[in-house]
Point group: C2
Amino acid sequence: MIDKLHIDALAGILGDKGVVTRPEDLEAYETGARYDRGRTSLVLRPATTEEVSAVVAYCVTSGIALIPQSGNTGLVSGSTPDPSGDEAVLSLDRLAKRFELDLDNRSVRLDAGFRLSDLNRKLEEHGLFFPIDLGADPRIGGMIATNTGGSRFLKYGDVRRNTLGLKVVLADADGTVLDLQCDLRKNNTGVDWKQIFVGTSGAFGIVTECVLNLERLPQQTATALLVPASGAHVLPLLRAMEERLGAYLSAFEGMSKNAVTAAFAHVPSLKNPFQAGQVPDYVILAEISRTWAPREGEQSLDAVLESALAEIWEMEEAPLADAFVGPPHEIWALRHALSEGVKHLGKLIAFDVSFRRGDIMAFCDHMKAEMPSKFPDVTVCDFGHIGDGGVHFNLVVPKDSDLLKDETFEPRLREWVFAVAVEEYHGSFSAEHAIGRRNQAYYDLYTPDKLKDMAAGLKTLTSPAKLGSVRFG
Amino acid sequence: MIDKLHIDALAGILGDKGVVTRPEDLEAYETGARYDRGRTSLVLRPATTEEVSAVVAYCVTSGIALIPQSGNTGLVSGSTPDPSGDEAVLSLDRLAKRFELDLDNRSVRLDAGFRLSDLNRKLEEHGLFFPIDLGADPRIGGMIATNTGGSRFLKYGDVRRNTLGLKVVLADADGTVLDLQCDLRKNNTGVDWKQIFVGTSGAFGIVTECVLNLERLPQQTATALLVPASGAHVLPLLRAMEERLGAYLSAFEGMSKNAVTAAFAHVPSLKNPFQAGQVPDYVILAEISRTWAPREGEQSLDAVLESALAEIWEMEEAPLADAFVGPPHEIWALRHALSEGVKHLGKLIAFDVSFRRGDIMAFCDHMKAEMPSKFPDVTVCDFGHIGDGGVHFNLVVPKDSDLLKDETFEPRLREWVFAVAVEEYHGSFSAEHAIGRRNQAYYDLYTPDKLKDMAAGLKTLTSPAKLGSVRFG
């Protein structure tokens, strides 16, 4: 519990709107998007960088541990308080005023508490967007702290690539404000300090403002569902598409038969282009897009996609067995229904792993082959971003399985999946969700001692006080 | 001078090929590409990461200062020894064996001593390239240490964006090898340590191997010289081009009248599309490209460019006054002749600065207006990368000017240009050349104390011994 005297002092800094203490109001801040329920007796809601600095200075001096919380949509328990009730949540939800669009520079300077959807709504009239495409609707500060990627990484990259500058408050006795808020694209004048605050779960500082690169909104999009000739043809198919469509290619998503079948079975609104009962072993969603309106004399984007597919069809050892070009909303509806469909099969245990692109299918095949002997009731329903190497390696256990009565089951399962992913396939145990409390043990396990020591040193250099959910020190 | 005993010990580690001591052989390593002549009595040429580690450990333990040197093509005195003769050069020129191409992952793992041209020659048969386009032919390790950008930044980004992983040797008593050689595109499992070695002139460690992202080679290119309606129309023209050509746009280079006139006057092979004596105040080189071969039914790329320009031509307040679509080699010949042309005018004093894109023209106009009263003999011959905000702000002084007899002239000029660029226009004093000895004073001047302290702390954490030309500690 946090002492009443401290709460009063913090209310003095932030005003009544800036401090939440009523249990019914605290609940939303205690509860993660999908997992997790922690406890807190105090949520701080500063509305400016200066207020963040003042409350951080107060809390550091008074020994109150802080959990920065942005949209709270993360999946690794990075933004919820622990169960002790001793941590105060520092929410960014009122830090959403500053919005300075620079059309010439194709960038925006804004407070870190903006939601992605609000940002993109404001940008739409200018034909621009922040090109990170996600299922959730996070706030920007949290997107920076987790370095989210999403489904269009192949074309636009991740948050790191699209962040030009940051303003950060450090967890020291002064609540030091670091102004790294450069809006330049080319600048090599020393250490690029913003990089250490991207993807590190808020442990090194609280992002309060940022300058983001923006991209032109696509005005034409063409999509297809592709059936590779076999699992071994998925990468040749990707390479053939990259060769023929280059910078047009904006998504190349893979979906396993199990995931697709579950979606068709449980989301009746979906159009099924395949013969009933004939869902292929693997399906690719390919999207191409361009940023200008259709122009006279120019081939339509559907025709561009069709002629590229026709060329691929005629290759020797063609990697393509079948293809369905269709309207983007119908094609993406299947991709977006996968999570929903899979959840109907039982308890979902999700892994966000990544590999060299050529190893994705091999990893999934390996796991499918081993699973029956290791964990007989578990079904693999993988899907993911083949174009960038990320896999949502989703496992499902029937709700009545005995495995779920065994407390050691989930830890054993996680340990095995990560061991194969990291040790055998040189993959990552967290592709785009960062660390959080949920992955702390794997950070501890898989990070070389020298890098752990350096991270601890960096923590001392920047934010010596405890900050956030991850222990780097 | 370096003691003979040490030289013998190092020859014992590296073999005879790995140690250079003959004055006539040392000269190339003592001399920078454009500026600078230092002195050394010893060049070390390790051929593997293990040899780098062994010689670094020896030199750190023995107190021998090391200057890592890659292609030695940099422009900020970053890779040449100082005049004392006490520094040993550690050259990467024999570290060029490992070359592991991963076509599925569109990446290559290679030793850092490869030259850019050699890398791209090996990639060409696969239709791939490392998409950093430069006038010089550096080695890859140096490109990482300076985070080069170049003329196609607008489309492909800088070296940072295209570096997936690194192997680095730290300047400590063990010559610790840090393996950050990840070949994943999505990976968020802690501090992304590779970022601190990019663009920091080798002060935090010596890059010995890397994994690079590769892109598809363009198969079609269309180019034009564009005349903006006025200086104020340069940015509206860029925005109109981005709106209509999106991911096709691969260069948008600006060239001032002074630079273009000098090129036409002194490089007779150039084709001049303008009326004689009618060089416009400002000229844009625009390039669009795509990565596939011409396809039946598809508009030619020249036609795409022409129809976009026709649309821009018909805009209200059209930003375009004239346009010449022509073959890429002719159009680029002008851009590549600018440096040569400008050098004929007198002594060249070059600045590599950058701005928000919307501030480039304002800065150049400001300087052109002020120059006659500040430094009457100096002519501004600017050109640069409008698409990414970088400007080669080149100043020329006639060889017979009295200014060149005044020792205080060049320091006063530099001080003034950087003060206006950084303090008034919030620009960068080094867009894509990094720091080196040449920009050390400006790093010291313009870096906030807190960031200097953090950099000193980071130096202690990584490479506590002196390394390279820049003092971060």
